[in-house]
Symmetry: C2
Subunit: 128 residues, 2 copies
DNA sequence: GCATCAATTGACTTTTACGTCAATATTGTT
DNA sequence: AACAATATTGACGTAAAAGTCAATTGATGC
């Protein structure tokens, strides 16, 4: 495992711009170390970026993604904070289960459309 | 099944604004009938609106949702068109499967965090 | 040590998906 | 028919998530 990645290495790997990565840093999602002014990304930063992009694919906003990635940090030490966090986690899970159901429904409908296309093609095959 | 819904009935049912519905119409996603100038939404329009909002929850853009809902219409009559549509359908399905995987991964990670919280709470219970 | 190439910063712009508001029209009710 | 309530249209505004561009700064090869 490499110690550091440059910003351009990550832009190429994930097909995003430097502007995007800097934007995520400005929003507090990611915090690479610096050598002088230059950003150096640790494997953990790269992993975090992967998680951010995963959240994007699921349609979460930057703010929502921020909430999620904050959860991945060490759990708080105080009981009240812990219970609050667990509540937040359950809320996110509920959102994710809803999305999963939406996906299943959409996939089922697309399957039906696909079937109809196949049938239609068969009819055409018979008629020509 | 009712014959028609007014725009405000739909805004209340789906918790969206009239502006949003008119926007979807402008974008060609939905096409209610008119009595004079007033829009009247058939059950099929209401159903389409449901599908649009489902697409939104999954993070699809209006353009992408448009592609999907066009697929629900009657399949084209020409073989070439049919094959093209089937290709598009498979692309959407691939996107949806990716999203589903993203969800499973995120859920697994949140489960792990939740476990850690439970453990941490147990430790606190012992110590106090 | 100097050129050059990559990286940073800040400012401004763009696109998407609506929100807001004012002026006008339509509908339902009494 | 009058009038309140609801709907439409058009124009302009806005927040989020970057894109673009120009001016510097820093790093690297020779």
């Amino acid at each position: 495992m490499r110690e550091f990645y440059t910003i351009t290495e990550l832009t190429r790997e994930f097909d995003i711009s430097t502007r995007t990565i800097r934007f995520y840093e400005d929003e507090g999602l990611i915090r690479p170390v610096r050598r002088g002014r230059t950003r150096l990304f640790r494997p953990s930063d790269r992993h975090l970026l992967k998680q951010i992009l995963r959240g994007k694919r699921l349609g979460f906003s930057i703010a929502e993604i921020n909430e999620i990635v904050q959860m991945y940090k060490d759990p708080p030490g105080e009981a009240g904070q812990l219970r609050l966090m667990m509540k937040r986690i359950e809320e996110k899970r509920a959102t994710l289960r809803q999305k999963r159901k939406d996906i299943e429904d959409t996939l089922a409908e697309l399957d039906a459309v696909d079937e109809a296309c196949i049938e239609r093609l068969a009819e055409l095959g018979v008629n020509t």
